[in-house]
């Protein structure tokens, strides 16, 4: 099964939860757990899991290359580009590859056949292992803006083809934008990590709308840094019928371990049983809805 850890708000503890879950599951007999860090703009799960990486591959997308000896500067390519990635001036064609989505319309619509598509590097994928955890993450090239194709290819390469008893945990980017939708798509369950503050509540509402209402996924909430802030998140979850999977206390020791790049469930084993319960709850909730 595929479980995505998302949040809406950044800095609420997605990576904390994702790495903690992967760690405790990997300690079970006959475990088969995978962690895929889908925050390709700022991957960070590797800082805690310290995987041995053994394979990498490139992610490219097709961008137009104009043969000026064939081009009549008619401007058709610029007209059909939904993303305004091409400007045609007299005797010049400007291609803004950072705006290009690789749809190919310009090449297909060029009456002279003057446009060929050439691959441009968007990012890299890396695969490896951290002990018993299968690990994969992606990294967007500096200067590139399109995270979604990198995430799409990362999931296509990393996730097991067949439904299995394995648990794949996807660490999502923050926010609720395209890259988060791409990560959530096809998941069996979404764990939404939040904090009990007005900021956490505001973004949790958006995340519930996205994961549960728009994408139709079963969702559950983990309240991190419980004990700070207010009761707004608790009231919202009760009113919206969203289960609270667990509450992680506002514990300085967790913050310290995290800031030192230590795996918190190793440094503080008293949290292991709590995270295992979360994993079991998610499994049973998923089985109940499938």
């Amino acid at each position: 099964m595929v479980v995505t850890v998302a949040s809406g708000k950044g800095g609420t503890g997605k990576t904390l939860v994702a790495t903690g879950l992967a760690d405790v599951l990997s300690g079970e007999a006959g475990s088969n757990v995978q962690l895929v860090d889908c925050d390709v703009e700022e991957p960070n799960a590797h800082l805690f899991l310290r995987p041995q990486l053994h394979r990498s591959e490139e992610v490219t997308h097709p961008v137009p290359q104009v043969d000026l000896t064939q081009c009549t500067f008619c401007g058709r390519c610029a007209q059909v580009c939904e993303f305004h990635a091409i400007a045609v001036l007299s005797g010049k064609v400007m291609v803004f590859t950072e705006m290009c989505h690789g749809c190919g319309s310009c090449a297909r619509q060029c009456p002279e056949g003057a446009i060929t598509e050439v691959p441009e590097l968007l990012g890299h994928l890396e695969f490896g292992r951290a002990g018993a955890i299968a690990f994969a993450h992606g990294r967007l090239e500096v200067g590139q803006a399109l995270a979604t194709p990198v995430i799409r290819q990362l999931k296509a390469r990393a996730l097991p083809r067949a439904a299995s008893t394995a648990m794949s945990i996807l660490d999502a980017p923050p926010g609720n934008a395209c890259s988060v939708v791409e990560t959530l798509r096809g998941s069996d369950y979404a764990i939404l990590v939040t904090e009990p503050t007005p900021f956490g509540l505001h973004d949790l509402k958006l995340a519930v709308e996205l994961a549960r209402d728009a994408l139709g996924l079963p969702v559950g909430v983990i309240i991190n840094r419980d004990g700070m802030g207010d009761a707004g998140v608790e009231s919202f979850c009760a009113a919206a019928g969203v289960p609270v999977l667990t509450r992680l206390p506002f514990d300085r020791r967790v913050a310290r371990a995290y800031s030192e790049g230590q795996l918190w469930t190793r440094v503080l084993p008293e949290y292991r049983s709590q995270m295992l319960e979360v994993a079991r709850a998610v499994r049973s909730l998923t089985e109940a809805t499938s």
Partner: protein, 131 residues
């Protein structure tokens, strides 16, 4: 000779607009006769690339100079490749006043983009904390 002014309305007495790619209207003016043609900007609601689209359009309409306040990097690249000069106008004032200042030689040509991409958009960026 034709110059174009980024404007909030469609006549010479409209206030100028401080943005280029997503300004409400473009007013094309012949500085010698003050004859003008005003056109609503089709790029206002573009998802992305509004500056490129608007610059392409301004070039296609034959403007030789752009009088605006803020021009983003992609729009500026297109305009400079097309040999269209960009002059900086004061944020307050009307289209007519901007053209008069241009004719009197009081405007400064800008040599590069003076605002970042997406300045004219209400943003939807990453909302990261200490992650």
């Amino acid at each position: 000779m034709r110059v174009v002014v980024t404007a909030q309305g469609t006549d010479l007495d409209s206030p100028t607009s401080p943005i280029f790619g997503r300004c409400p209207a473009f007013v094309f003016v012949d500085p010698e006769t003050m004859e003008f043609e005003a056109v609503a900007n089709a790029s206002v609601a573009a998802g992305g690339g509004a500056g490129i689209q608007a610059a392409q359009w301004v070039v296609d309409k034959g403007a030789q100079a752009v009088l605006s306040h803020n021009v983003g990097p992609n729009a500026f690249a297109v305009l400079s490749q097309a040999g269209v000069a960009v002059y900086r106008i004061e944020p307050a004032g009307t289209v007519r006043q901007a053209v008069e200042a241009y004719v009197a030689g009081r405007l400064q040509a800008i040599s590069g983009a003076n605002v970042a991409s997406h300045t004219g958009m209400s943003g939807m960026g990453r909302r990261g904390g200490g992650r």
